[in-house]
Symmetry: C2
Subunit: 275 residues, 2 copies
């Protein structure tokens, strides 16, 4: 059963000279597959394409990627749902940071099992904490899903129990930016807020889907800087990513939400229909 | 001829599930080899060990690494000098930022040809520019030589001619931190200054060697925040790394140095003796 394709070849290893390893010089997408169909593929592709443009990585051929993904997703006997991770790197080159004179983008497509996500997190909410590892700010790298993820790695490993499902990361000013693996939304007086990501954080595909659905439902959505105080004084909080979709936040620091918010539920239903 | 060893095995590729590729979750050292002997090995090892501690990566066995390096450096017919690059990653694991329950550090040792470094750069100096790509600040990652190098990649590719040998990177405040592949020193009134690296930059092995040699020679050396103005008003400027050792700066922005500084020369001689 084929579970990894590298530049179309069925193998599981890449050259150590690939700049993805040498410098984290690349991008990735983590995508949910239901009924052998990648969810929100066009949105994932657009983010990846934007990331390539931002990093001056040659944009791979979309049809080629789609065909390679199809080879992996169409394998019989693959239990659904599952996860497809797509990595694009600047390929191999001479030693040093300078781009190779000829860029040969590396495409890595892998199928991975669906993570254990308790249904209860969706219906009863999750416990979230603040991380001490800060998110550094760089407008050139903000928003895109590049392979330089040490800050998320350090933040996610600040806790090692199942007491928390996610950790929120702050920038050096103490503003909330996003979770280690998710984006955060707050609802206050029927208005929806989410942190501005122009100088740090990852602009999630599910985040953008939620913003679109919310606007279709007639809500105002604002992207703004976001303090802990504002977060803890919200009427509703929820986190999003492509695999979990929307998880209500049940607790953050000393704040407890007694029930899942009305608007959170409404958005969960709207997003579930997007599938 | 063996040119790459991965965990002691003679091969050139690693699993795509290695966290070095997935997240840039690792460290590296680039080392000069003269007469089949790694220069400043103990200093490289100390920085690597410190990096492992900072990232909670299990420190590999020093003797084991030394033996593996010896296999590669002792190959007959290898033209000296050459470069050994050592990469340490947190190894493979399940999907997600959480550390694997069992960490199996990956050791990658590769031999690479000596880069073309004109002798003139050492004797007549180099032209240096300022980069627009900023260095983001994070005290948890500052100083160590981790694999998240996208900022250096973007900065190094702001110019594509041979008019400049290096680009200096600034933090968001506009302070000079280091070069894309080197550290910078300034001499003013016989005192030596180099940027403080507590919130960004890489603490170079050659940088530390230069500081030691300078102190032995009786100079005062200060690590401090460093403006462009201070830089351009220095009496002497030079950049350092393990391969180039010390290159005097001939020009930066509109500033021209008419001759190689006396103290720069003195330090070049002192460092050459360290070999």
């Amino acid at each position: 059963m084929i579970s990894v394709l590298i530049n179309g070849e069925c193998k599981e290893s890449i050259s150590i000279f690939d700049r993805g390893l040498q410098y984290g010089d690349g991008l990735f997408e983590t995508m949910a597959v239901y009924e052998n169909k990648i969810q929100l593929w066009d949105a994932h592709w657009e983010r990846l394409k934007n990331g390539c443009q931002r990093l001056s990585i040659e944009i791979p051929d979309k049809k080629l990627i789609e065909n390679e993904i199809a080879i992996i997703t169409n394998e019989k006997l693959t239990p659904n749902p599952f996860v497809i991770k797509l990595i694009i790197t600047r390929g191999s080159g001479e030693r040093g940071y300078k781009f190779p004179s000829v860029q040969n983008t590396t495409r890595i497509i892998s199928r991975q099992p669906w993570p254990h996500l308790s249904e209860e997190f969706k219906t009863s909410g999750v416990a979230v904490r603040y991380c001490e590892t800060i998110l550094s700010e760089n407008t050139q790298l903000a928003g895109i899903k590049h392979l330089n993820r040490l800050e998320q790695v350090l933040a996610r490993n600040e806790w090692n129990t199942n007491d928390f499902q996610e950790g929120l990361m702050l920038n050096a000013n103490g503003d909330v930016v996003d979770g280690t693996m998710s984006n955060i939304f707050a609802v206050k007086d029927n208005i929806i807020f989410t942190p501005d990501l122009s100088s740090a954080g990852v602009s999630g595909v599910m985040r953008n889907t939620v913003i679109e659905r919310a606007k279709e439902l007639g809500f105002s959505v604002y992207e703004k800087t976001f303090s802990k105080f504002e977060l803890e004084n919200a009427d509703e909080l929820f986190i999003t990513n492509s695999l979990i979709r929307i998880w209500p936040v049940r607790t953050i620091a000393k704040k407890r939400f007694t029930q899942i918010g009305k608007i959170t539920k409404q958005l969960q239903q709207a997003v579930d229909k997007t599938r």
